[in-house]
């Protein structure tokens, strides 16, 4: 499982980096979205993998996964959405003002 998750994070990161380096705003935004998936998964995985051990306290249960990275990532997901929306609005505005969706603002 560790191998799957690590390699999955790697693949998503690589695609994210590649798209972030594109010349048009929309692929760059998709790239940032992919990067935030990878980062979120990475952060959760630093709490180590645990199957069937959600951090919800029950009497008699001893094993829980690490709740702290989850709490951090939960807000990160929401903030990530806000960031996507903000970058998107910049892209929209830039396209409207400059007549181009190139990241440099000119073809």
């Amino acid at each position: 499982m560790e191998i799957l998750i690590a390699s999955g994070i790697g693949v998503v990161t690589a695609a994210g980096i590649y798209l972030t380096l594109r010349a048009r705003t929309f692929p760059v935004i998709l790239g940032l979205t992919l990067l935030s998936y990878a980062v979120n998964l990475f952060l959760v995985s630093t709490g180590r993998l645990a199957i069937n051990a959600p951090p919800i306290v029950h009497e008699g249960t001893k094993a829980y996964t690490d709740p702290l990275p989850q709490a951090l990532v939960l807000t990160a997901i929401v903030i990530g959405f806000a960031m996507t929306a903000f970058v998107l609005v910049l892209a929209l505005k830039a396209r409207r003002e400059l007549g181009s969706d190139h990241v440099d603002g000119r073809e």
Partner: protein, 922 residues
């Protein structure tokens, strides 16, 4: 405590003058004088202890881990300086009341003057060398503000900038020196450093320390070659110049040399560096002063010269030299302050400071003439005035020293005499050209005596000059012995201050200097011609400006080279740097897998992984088709939600799922306005470069993630798991962390969310159009329309359920907020903006605001119970149907989170939805 008050009173008093200036200019002056006078009274109260040989100390820890303490001490030398700063400061405040014109903002002036005064007091009273550096920089900043007080004048701004650059650079050197000193001595306490002179001079770091300290001191005290900022600093109002030149700023430089004398002196290096620079400065300054036509310019160069003299005296490594140096500090402060004030009076009453335009003023301002003449005589070293005494001591010392040195030692008295001669010559010029000679008729105003109280400060200082000059042993020897004792760390051997020491070499030097000065003055036209022939116009200012311009040009070139305007290139640089740095760290630090047992991977997990990889590759390779890429990105997001479920993160899965919905809708709405396809325009070379970088980055992250997951974990989370139920009243630890343990973070995050929503609104509201009533139901698919309207109440119930269970089961404000947002967005999509906003609401600002206020006030309510911000409390309530239910104050906080999330998300989405696609062909 009183010691701290002396420093704090002027600093705290800053607020008074700008407020009280509304009650009049005199009130403002009183507001500045009161804290100063109070501090002076406090200081006087401690003086007896110090005169008896005691040291007053006070210390509070500030940043003990750094060795920085709020520590002050008052010894003889500190007492002298603090007295000068406060005493002359008081006179300056009185003088400035009459000097500043109606148009000058007086409150601001006094506020900055008090700040400067407080900073200076901090320097002279600090018992911690780091604290001293802090105050040192404060004087640089406050003097910058004072020099640039007339900010509409270009010369004032330039002068201020130059002073800040030069003394600020010196301050950085001093900081480095302070750190090295602390390293060598093992303490940043100044008294400990002073007592460790032998350790310091024997240390291999002695030379760097000495060089850095002297750089700090020489830049501040305007020694050659750093002197050039001082003449330009006279663009300041004259009261500031008088203060800067007499008791503060430049004196801080000589103060530092004297203060660190026990720690650094006694070596050959000290002697050579300090004496040579002092001598050069003395002669250079005096020579420069002779040819200045501006009264304040003449005085500025004379200050440079006299500071050189003081520096030289400390460089001699002798006790008598120290006594003479301290004495000259006092004398120079008195006569230079009164000379500047006289120059200010002349400027104020005649409208000019140009010596060529002035003349014959003795008829109009006889009292001022007498005052200026006495001060100038003191500066020239004429007997019966205080300057004569310290100059005699200076001559005596250089003669003694030259005998000790042998060889070229005779140069010392020769240059000393030349310096004295030049000093006397420009003093003569100051008095004779202004008050005697013929009237030039070129004065802008009809001259007359100044207001009564403008002259009082000068009169007080002149009185000191004369009393010290006539009966020195009675007037000053106790003060001098105490102050010199502070420098030397021991009571100095008895010395005699007397007017008459018999016929000796120093007397001959004095006579030579005074007679030569008169001769030179009467040949001044010839001297001036010679000067102009010999020295072409070369100024330190020009040098400074060209260095500055060069530095600016160089940084422009560097910036242009790093950033050529291409965003792609910049991103490559940033990511490339990150990859290289991480690789270096991975190679040196090791990225080996740990010993933790691997978790088994069932077949469904492999299938999910495979789907994820395929979707990701599709996004990367087929991104030119934007719809396809968007759908594939959504797939990756959904699969990551699945992964969260599998690895025991149900809250994250729920959040990811709902965010996935809203962000896909968002991106779809954006595609309505943006082009649907990305052109194929990258060259193969660039694609390869980006591909290699991407694979390197992804590989690195994968290796890092694998290493992290396989190593054993020692987490602080045990605390959260254990205290979640007893402390936070919730079983869902993730939610308890969000709304309770780390509630402050969450509060910050929902604030960011609200701000982002407002930014989105602000940026595109102009282009938003509510579709008119033509936007009818007919345009929307009937199935979706009916389905969504049926779903709405259901979703509302789900929202409430998810919200309420959040504290104990997966759910909570964030997730409930997202689900509610999805429900509302569905209405927008199914029924259109018009229909939805008519029935729900189109105004989401109150919701965001209410959410933030609810969360904030829940936090503040904790204060009512005298516990920190956002401390939660809870109790159990038995609800009829639901059963036992915990009600925690955190629920109110979570409600705030919920409202903010709903408001922000729907506001953003509705704004995107209102964008009109661009008219084709534009």
């Amino acid at each position: 405590m009183k010691l701290l008050l002396i420093v704090l009173l002027p600093l705290a008093g800053i607020v008074l003058p700008p407020v009280l200036v509304r009650a009049g200019r005199t009130a403002s002056a009183w507001a500045a004088a009161t804290p100063t006078a109070l501090a002076l009274v406090l200081l006087a109260g401690m003086a007896p202890t110090v005169f008896e040989g005691g040291v007053v100390e006070a210390s509070w820890p500030w940043m003990p881990a750094l060795g920085l303490n709020l520590a002050f001490f008052l010894d003889g030398f500190g007492l002298l300086f603090a007295g000068l700063i406060l005493g002359i400061g008081l006179l300056i405040i009185l003088y400035a009341r009459y000097y500043l014109s109606e148009d000058d903002p007086m409150g601001r002036f006094y506020a900055m003057l008090l700040a400067f005064m407080g900073a200076m007091l901090g320097i002279v009273l600090s018992d911690n060398i780091l604290l001293l550096v802090v105050f040192w920089e404060l004087t640089s900043i406050s003097s910058f503000l004072l020099i640039g007080y007339w900010r509409h004048r270009a010369d004032a701004r330039q002068g201020a900038r130059m002073a800040l650059a030069v003394t600020g650079a010196g301050g950085l050197c001093l900081l480095a020196a302070a750190i090295l000193l602390g390293h060598v001595v093992g303490s940043y306490q100044l008294q400990a450093i002073l007592a460790a002179g032998d350790t310091i001079t024997a240390s291999p770091l002695y030379l760097p320390i000495l060089g850095l300290v002297l750089l700090g001191a020489f830049t501040k005290s305007a020694q050659v070659p750093f002197h050039f900022w001082l003449p330009h600093a006279m663009a300041a109002p004259t009261p500031v110049s008088a203060y800067l030149h007499s008791a503060t700023m430049v004196k801080a430089g000589v103060f530092l040399i004297a203060r660190l004398y026990p720690a650094l002196s006694g070596t050959e290096e000290w002697f050579v560096l300090v004496t040579v620079i002092g001598l050069a400065t003395m002669v250079f300054g005096a020579y420069g002063a002779l040819f200045k036509d501006d009264l304040k310019g003449l005085l500025a160069y004379s200050t440079i010269s006299h500071l050189g003299l003081i520096t030289l005296l400390f460089g001699l490594n002798t006790q008598a030299g120290v006594i003479a140096g301290v004495f000259h500090i006092i004398n120079h402060a008195t006569f230079k302050a009164s000379l500047f004030m006289s120059a200010g009076i002349i400027d104020h009453e005649t409208g000019t400071r140009d010596i060529r335009k002035l003349g014959g003023l003795r008829h109009y301002m006889p009292v001022t003439m007498w005052l200026a003449a006495i001060a100038a005589a003191s500066m020239a070293g004429v007997p019966l005035f205080n300057g004569f005494l310290s100059k005699e001591m200076f001559f005596t010392e250089v003669v003694v020293e030259s005998e000790r040195l042998g060889g070229i030692g005779w140069l010392l008295p020769v240059f000393a005499t030349i310096g004295g001669l030049l000093s006397a010559a420009y003093s003569l010029r100051f008095v004779h050209d202004v008050f005697f000679g013929d009237e030039t008729g070129a004065l802008p105003r009809h001259p007359h005596e100044p207001p009564r109280y403008m002259r009082v400060p000068v009169e007080i200082l002149i009185l000191i000059c004369v009393v010290v000059g006539v009966v020195p042993s009675l007037a000053i020897s106790t003060v001098l012995a105490t102050a010199a004792g502070g420098v030397l760390l021991q009571a100095p051997e008895p010395f005699s201050l007397a007017l008459w020491h018999g016929f000796n070499v120093p007397l001959v030097m004095s006579v030579l200097a005074l007679a030569g000065a008169v001769a030179l003055y009467y040949q001044r036209d010839a001297a001036e011609r010679w000067h102009e022939r010999t020295f072409p116009a070369f100024t330190g200012k020009g040098c400074f400006e060209s260095v500055l311009a060069g530095a600016i040009a160089a940084s422009r070139r560097l910036t242009a080279w790093l950033d050529d305007g291409s965003v792609q290139r910049n991103v490559v640089l940033v990511i490339g740097t990150a990859v290289v740095m991480a690789a270096a760290g991975g190679i040196t630090g090791g990225l080996d897998a740990g010993s933790r047992a691997l978790t088994p991977a069932p077949l469904p997990a492999v299938a999910v992984w495979l789907m994820g990889v395929i979707a990701t590759v599709v996004v990367a390779l087929r991104h030119h088709d934007r719809f396809l890429a968007l759908v594939a990105t959504g797939v990756v997001g959904l699969l990551s939600a699945l992964t969260f479920i599998y690895i025991s993160a149900p809250d994250l899965a729920l959040t990811q799922l709902s965010v996935e919905v809203v962000s896909t809708v968002l991106l779809l709405l954006a595609l309505n306005v943006l082009p649907k396809e990305t052109p194929h325009e990258s060259s193969p070379g660039r694609r390869w470069r980006d591909g290699v970088l991407a694979v390197a980055g992804g590989g690195g992250i994968a290796a890092l993630a694998y290493a992290a997951m396989t190593r054993p974990l020692d987490s602080i989370s045990r605390y959260f798991l254990e205290t979640s139920v007893p402390g936070g009243g919730g079983h869902n630890v993730v939610n308890v962390i969000l709304v309770d343990f780390r509630g402050f973070d969450t509060f910050g995050e929902i604030t960011v969310l609200g701000i982002a929503a407002l930014c989105v609104y602000a940026l595109i509201r102009d282009e938003a159009h509510t579709m008119a009533s033509a936007d009818t139901e007919a345009r929307h698919p009937r199935m979706l329309l009916i389905g969504s309207r049926v779903m709405l109440p259901l979703l509302a119930v789900v929202t409430v359920y998810v919200f309420l269970r959040g504290h104990n089961q997966p759910g909570g404000g964030f997730i409930a907020g997202l689900i509610a947002a999805v429900a509302m967005v569905t209405q927008y999509m199914a029924s259109g903006v018009h229909w939805t906003e008519q029935r729900l609401t189109g105004n989401y600002f109150p919701m965001i605001g209410a959410g933030l206020l609810t969360a904030g006030f829940t936090g503040l309510a904790s204060w009512l119970f005298d516990v920190p911000f956002l401390t939660s409390t809870f109790s159990h309530v038995n609800w009829p149907v639901v059963g036992d239910f915990e009600i925690a104050s955190a629920v109110a906080f979570d409600l705030g989170v919920f409202l903010t999330v709903v408001g922000s998300v729907v506001l953003m989405l509705s704004q995107f939805g209102k964008q009109q696609p661009p008219v084709e062909g534009r």
